[in-house]
Symmetry: C2
Subunit: 421 residues, 2 copies
């Protein structure tokens, strides 16, 4: 008898039919003999509808009250799910994040989980009940106020609960079949991975793969709970995120997949005086706006005594960053700002890259043969990322996928975790 | 500087405009220098919408989960109201029933308040904030589960909080101007009462006056908090429920008003053997169905050795009671059951009745002169109630209102609390 934590997203419980379908699925797991703890998101678009109401009464709603408002969404879906489970003959009890012991810091709207003390969940499971927990929410350790975890919060709730309960697996039910070697909408030959390491999944998530959020994978890696990403519309196994790169057999795959991201823009600060502290002034200014920058490239100044600094950032933060930098132009003494939101980011991720020095050469050769220009390059131990023109991104993804033998058609690709091809 | 508890019902906060209007009203009170604690109901029809969702997923939703579901309604309205107050420049904090310290028993759907420990509310008020509290809900002392208080629950929350906070007044904002001498839709000359005692209000509420629920008035009487019922659409004073009959000046009014009720039906059990225990068998059977009976009349048996027993009960419970009684007909040995849902109940309430023995004679004379037949009669120290044909009810109400000089047109009516005529 295993303990399974299952997480269902808003699209799985978008209406009464969806809630009932999920209830039947949970019942199947329970009747198989497993203990089941379920984390659920708000129904379909209900969070957006609540946000719309908030905007109608206040131009800038206080964050504490916005969290109070939004957490009602999961309250509704979890109670309905508990009712639906009861109506198929099982006992279920629903719990808010606070009741489930999800303790967070006090940063409303994007709180971090500090601790999980799931005493009431364990009691419910011991009583043979299905425990339903509201995703995305917790309670502040200091203020005792209700908090939300921000984007991907329900996945994080699920993995954190699974860790605290010492669950055998955390199943994340979603509307795709698992983690793919590339986005199947761009690469029709992309294949589902059966397993992938936490480290690779972290890189994929950070580089634009939307199936799992970074924070949830980080939590999984720290706790060692296997995360099984699978479809709520089929019973086929999905992708299990588990294991460390250190444990990979040497002969295993080089590359796990290609990720891409269209959500970033590029700012180039032209003609920065090449003296100590100038880069710091620029990035401190951007950081003061709360903007997360991603890639940074600085060319060493040659004879001019000036240098260009380029970095990427979320498009949504572009206007704020430009405004702030413009305000300090005179003080820093740079010549000009260039803002470019027509870029794409392309990343190749694979644990095997560490011991295969030829990967980056093969990467650049493929880009060159496809005629794709690379504007920025950044690498980690298991990842190579480049910035291209937005218009070149699809071609670049397909080219890389083929160049690294990831296509399913050839039947010969060696992909880490590809045992279930 | 006073401490005011204000309660706004669902119709006052039915949409974003309503929420903003209520926020402005609260701000006026706060800016006058008073501390304000607000209790708010769910928006408009949102509770019905949630009930509808529940029915879609389960034919018989578990009560615990139904409470979890329904309490999201107040969570939404209270957060929106806090936002709206913030946007007019004041600080506000919203609290669930549980956070506000509303401790109840564990009877889901109609929990009773056991205690109120409003520590967080007091802290918020001490910080100069407006405290917003979700009405209708609390937390069970034993199970720690979320409970709802049932019909009129938000009014009860407000009065209970006012008592626990030792507030100067509890203002109940509603869609009528206050408590009237009769329903103005039936009696156009009905007048608003400026004040009425708790005892009279209890009788009026029990006899069909819908403006305040019985439980809320009971709580007010026990704690002595004045309850000011007033319109959320005007700034005119409404009716204040306060004071004991014991404190009334002798020369004060005889009658405070006429109440009526169309929601009851009458069951007559014909030919009951006149032996000890037969009435008990009948009423035990009805009580076992959870039916609250109201008036009871039994005629003493004369020579037949048999008697007729009549009682009134909510129409909604009629079918169940009839079914149960039919099942025990042979055992009890009565001859026949009569069910009649075409009745009306009419009540005259007034603290001065106690020292005016002529009131009932005047009552019956008025009915007689109007040609209204009285089928059942029941009285308390400060109330006379009769059952009439449903078709006679409006005429009976108007006749009584005039007979006891309650009409506003004559300008001479002596009504208790009529100081503000």
């Amino acid at each position: 008898m295993a303990l399974v934590v299952q997480k269902y997203g808003g699209s799985s419980v978008a209406d009464a039919e969806g809630v009932k379908r999920v209830a039947r699925r949970i019942a199947e797991t329970r009747r198989r003999g497993d203990d089941v703890c379920v984390v659920v998101s708000a129904m379909g678009d209900s969070t957006d509808e609540l946000l719309d109401l908030a905007r109608q009464v206040s131009p800038l709603p206080p964050a504490r009250e916005l969290d109070m408002l939004l957490t009602s969404g999961e309250r509704i879906s979890m109670a309905l799910l508990a009712m639906a489970i009861a109506s198929v003959g099982l006992e279920a009890r629903s719990f808010t994040g606070s009741q489930a012991g999800v303790i967070t810091d006090a940063v409303h709207g994007r709180a971090r989980i500090i601790d999980v003390t799931p005493g009431r969940i364990r009691d419910a499971l011991d009583d043979g009940h299905v425990a339903i927990v509201a995703g995305f929410q917790g309670v502040s350790q200091t203020s005792k106020d209700i908090t939300t975890l921000g984007r991907g919060g329900s996945d994080t709730t699920a993995v954190a609960l699974a860790a605290a309960l010492d669950a055998d697996v955390c199943e994340i039910y979603t509307d795709v079949d698992g983690v793919f070697t590339a986005d199947p909408r761009i690469v029709p030959t992309a294949r589902k991975l059966d397993t992938v390491t936490y480290e690779e999944m972290l890189e994929l998530a950070a580089c634009g793969a939307k199936v799992l959020m970074l924070r949830c994978v980080e939590y999984g890696r720290r706790s060692g709970v296997p995360i099984h990403v699978r479809s709520s519309f089929s019973t086929k196994p999905g992708t299990t995120v588990t294991g460390s790169m250190e444990d990979l057999p040497v002969e295993q795959a080089i590359i796990s997949g290609v990720a891409h991201d269209r959500s970033e823009a590029k700012i180039t600060v032209v003609g920065v005086p090449d003296s100590p502290g100038k880069a710091a002034e620029i990035f401190e200014a951007v950081a003061a706006e709360g903007v997360n920058i991603d890639m940074i490239v600085q060319n060493v100044a040659a004879t001019t005594g000036r240098t260009d600094v380029s970095f990427t950032l979320p498009k949504a933060d572009g206007a704020r960053a430009v405004e702030r930098l413009t305000a300090i132009q005179e003080h820093v003494g740079f010549a000009q700002l260039q803002y470019d939101d027509q870029i794409g980011k392309l990343s190749l991720v694979g644990a095997g890259m560490r011991s295969n020095p030829g990967v980056s050469a093969q990467f650049f050769r493929a880009m060159s043969s496809a005629g794709v220009n690379m504007e920025m390059i950044s690498t980690s131990e298991i990842r190579i990322s480049v910035v291209t023109r937005a218009d070149d991104l699809d071609l670049a993804v397909r080219t890389l996928h083929t160049a690294f033998d990831l296509d399913s058609a050839d039947g010969e690709a060696v992909v880490y975790g590809g045992t279930g091809r």
